[in-house]
């Protein structure tokens, strides 16, 4: 009915507004990074905003049939991606997990299998992930990733709620957008806290007990941040919030 349609449309408009705001934020972030003297490449770690079911575009393309809700989602995402291609091609790369064509970006809780029912050839390697300042924990299965890059991309999308919140506030987007850098750290089998990225990937998976995204200011004590994190463009996460 018309009434239902109008409700659906108003949601869509809000979505588009949000997307536009987020693109503006993205541009600001890139501008500030260019003026930064560090060699950190923000492009690879800049957050992309995703709506629920962000990985949907591949489904829409495959089946060739789009339904109401997914139509909205696909529309916005395609729009965003095509804009980005004009501005900065690397943004699109970040949206897809880099390495494995065989497995795709996962939707949370789908397919509906209990965790212990997954492929029993290898045992699951679930670790808890905490972010300083966030009121909740997440779990990731390290066995699902084959590189630090994939893991960090996944963590970014998991905790990108921080940026969602701020894009929706009728705040001053043109104000100074302060980015707080989070350094991914982990506790190993011996109970020591280490920087993510220091050891080969497989060794990390083997020894990691849990992960904590620590505020950069607090992570200084872990030593060698200048050398390992700043220069290692793979291992820093920027989460923006006011």
């Amino acid at each position: 009915t018309l009434a239902q349609l109008s409700h659906v449309c108003s949601y869509k408009e809000t979505e588009e507004l949000r997307q536009r705001k987020s693109q503006a934020n993205g541009k600001i972030l890139r501008m500030s990074s260019e003026s930064d003297n560090s060699s950190m490449n923000f492009d690879e770690t800049a957050l992309t905003l995703g709506l629920p079911g962000k990985s949907r575009p591949s489904v829409g393309e495959k089946s060739g049939v789009k339904r109401g809700f997914s139509k909205m989602v696909d529309l916005n995402l395609h729009q965003k991606q095509s804009n980005d291609q004009e501005n900065d091609g690397s943004q699109v790369e970040v949206a897809e997990p880099a390495n494995s064509p065989a497995s795709k970006a996962q939707i949370a809780g789908w397919p509906p299998v209990r965790t212990f029912r997954k492929n029993t050839v290898k045992s699951c390697k679930y670790v808890k992930v905490a972010v300083d300042g966030a009121p909740y924990l997440r779990k990731v299965d390290l066995d699902l990733y084959t590189s630090y890059q994939q893991l960090l991309i996944s963590l970014e999308s998991m905790f990108s709620c921080f940026t969602i919140r701020n894009c929706m506030n009728d705040g001053n987007l043109m104000d100074l957008v302060k980015g707080t850098e989070y350094v991914p750290t982990y506790e190993d089998k011996d109970g020591d806290w280490m920087l993510v990225g220091d050891v080969p990937w497989k060794m990390f998976v083997e020894s990691c007990k849990r992960i904590r995204l620590m505020k950069r200011s607090e992570a200084l004590g872990l030593g060698n941040i200048q050398n390992s994190c700043y220069n290692s463009k793979d291992t820093s996460i920027v989460i923006k919030h006011k």
């Binding site: 109401g68 997914s70 397919p111 009121p135």
Partner: protein, 584 residues
């Protein structure tokens, strides 16, 4: 009433009435029956621990012996419920510890259980017999040690699918030598690293438990120990093996084979971690007596599966990976004419391309060949409306049908149409259907079919389906028997929910995540329906920091006489009158 039976007579009669529904009906006859019934009720099942409080339960039923509680919503199994949401058993145990010194049984599902709670259970109830912790978490092997050490008459300890932190130690040795009462022990969820001491403690425990009927081991128990255990417990009816791989030594094999043949009562088999196909024939001697076979932890391929299954002519229940493939299911349909329940799990759920040849054909074959099939859980990557028509036509006796086509919104792969008509045929033909899970490409039409025909449906799971509120409206207004509804990623919003608010009080619960229900509607619902707890779960921050028309992340609505709960974490808000007043 002018004439009435003496209380003792009524009590005696009531003692034959077991079912909850019947007991509830009895209690509604008149005040005196209500009183008599409540004093003699011994068993209670609480499907949602937040629907009622311990105090209310104790006040009404002062003499319970058996309590069952469920905590988190079903979608917690798939990590959709954030950690810390709730479902704590501790306040219940505290209250029951004081009120029910004669409590014998505690069965919990999806609850958070602490070691302290377990210790309290072990010390408060002198005659404690049965502890079932299904998909629970929050406790360690220390908690289990308390149970083992203090529950003198323990009959059942079942930890099915719980998440237990293994602190090492040797909790099994905490069972005193005098403990010989065990009937059922399920530790299959425990870890795969055990010391020799733990293993020998297990052997001794099994050896001194002559009544042991059900034993489900964990991965840590090696294959060469299995034979010893079986020889000590030839009376077993159910067995879950430990790891089923080892070096292929002839003496191991023949030892095992001999041990199995001694277990003449075995009806159910599970476990089989890391199973080596060449060892499987060790169980052949007991296969003809098997009614239940769970191979969902085993990476056995199709041809070996078929060999095993074809030995099990009396199988009623089969759980298996999709390694079985269509060909294996066709063989199943040929050999197992008594099959009632089939569950096929995905071996590689995240692969883009199918890794096995398991399609709609397999399920169609089973629906044709197995006349008693009534319960199906099937993960696959393609389906057609025609296949669903055939299954519906073949099996009008289906009571549970859960189909998961792995890629969301997948259409009929031949016609490219939605699967509305196919699922419509299922609900139309299978008049006794109680549980249904949908998948594939679905429009509002499928919900129209469901609302029209699924009159006995009690639980419905929906994901990535529908076009508009009309879909939800059909379900809420049509499904008379609906108790549990769980929805994710569907374009269902305010209108259908608000128009059917009263329906929600007739259901246990409604879960909606990644849908289009606005915060405003949640508030309204919470205000208008005081006997519903409308919980907004949103990890983005307080819902009033966003426009009211904005959809909430997750919504969990359940009926309750307990009022809003007090143990909510920071990311859960209850929409009640108070909140509405504060925020308006």
């Amino acid at each position: 009433m002018a004439y009435s039976f003496p209380v003792e007579v009524l009590e005696h009669i009531f003692s034959f009435i077991d079912s909850d529904n019947d007991r509830n009906a009895v209690s509604l006859v008149c005040k005196s029956w209500y009183e008599i019934e409540r004093w003699c009720r011994r068993k209670i099942f609480i499907g949602n621990c937040y629907a009622v409080t311990p105090r209310i339960m104790i006040r009404r039923f002062p003499e319970l012996r058996s309590v069952s509680l469920k905590g988190k919503p079903h979608f917690a199994d798939f990590n959709l419920v954030p950690e810390g949401w709730g479902g704590y058993v501790d306040p219940w145990v505290l209250a029951m510890g004081r009120a029910y010194p004669f409590l014998e049984e505690l069965r919990l599902k999806r609850m958070v259980v602490s070691d302290e709670a377990l210790e309290m259970v072990s010390k408060s109830f002198k005659n404690f017999k049965v502890l079932v912790l299904s998909s629970c978490e929050g406790f360690t092997t220390d908690g289990l040690a308390s149970i083992a050490a203090n529950c003198r008459n323990l009959r059942e300890l079942d930890l099915r699918e719980s998440d237990v932190e293994d602190l090492g130690g040797n909790w099994l040795s905490c069972f005193p030598e005098s403990c010989t009462s065990l009937v059922s022990l399920n530790i299959s969820c425990l870890g795969s690293d055990w010391s020799l001491q733990s293993l020998s403690a297990l052997e001794r425990l099994v050896g001194r438990s002559p009544n042991l009927r059900r034993l489900r081991l964990n991965r840590a128990v090696p294959l060469d120990k299995l034979a010893n255990l079986l020889r000590r417990a030839p009376q077993l009816v159910e067995l879950g093996t430990g790891t089923f791989s080892s070096e292929l030594r002839p003496d191991v094999f023949s030892n095992l084979s001999g041990a199995f043949s001694g277990c003449k009562e075995l009806k159910a088999l599970s476990g089989f971690w890391d199973a080596v196909p060449s060892h499987l024939p060790a169980v052949y001697t007991i296969c003809s007596g098997l009614t239940s076979l769970n191979l969902s932890d085993a990476n056995i391929q199709s041809s070996d599966l078929v060999k095993l299954i074809s030995e099990c002519q009396n199988l009623q229940r089969l759980w298996v990976f999709d390694y079985i493939e269509d060909s294996g299911l066709e063989a199943l349909a040929e050999s197992c004419k008594n099959l009632q329940e089939l569950r096929v799990f995905p071996s590689d759920p995240y692969a883009m391309e199918p890794n096995v040849t398991l399609t709609e054909q397999g399920l169609v074959a089973v629906s044709e060949g197995c006349p008693k099939l009534e319960s199906v859980l099937y993960f696959c990557r393609q389906f057609t409306n025609n296949a669903l028509f055939t299954i519906a036509k073949n099996r009008p006796n289906l009571t549970r049908f859960r189909l998961c086509i792995i890629e969301p919104r997948t259409p009929d792969y031949i016609t490219l149409e939605p699967l509305d008509a196919g699922f419509g045929a299922i609900v139309q033909n299978c008049k006794e259907l109680r549980r249904l899970s949908l998948s594939g490409l679905l429009t509002d039409r499928v919900f129209e079919h469901i609302g029209t025909h699924a009159k006995k449906l009690e639980m419905l799971s929906i994901a990535f389906a529908g076009d508009s509120d009309l879909g939800l409206y059909h379900v809420l207004s049509g499904c008379k028997s609906l108790r549990k509804l769980e929805i994710r990623d569907c374009p269902f919003g305010d209108k259908a929910l608000l128009a059917n608010a009263a329906k929600l009080e007739t259901m246990r619960s409604l879960w909606m995540s990644s849908c289009l229900v606005s915060f405003e509607a949640c508030k309204l619902l919470g205000q208008k329906m005081p006997r519903l707890n409308v919980e907004v779960i949103d990890e983005r921050g307080p819902p009033d920091s966003r426009p009211e028309s904005y959809p909430v992340e997750k919504l969990y609505i359940y009926r309750s006489v307990a009022g809003p709960r007090l143990d909510m974490p920071a990311f859960v808000w209850t929409m009640d009158e108070e909140l509405a007043l504060r925020l308006s």
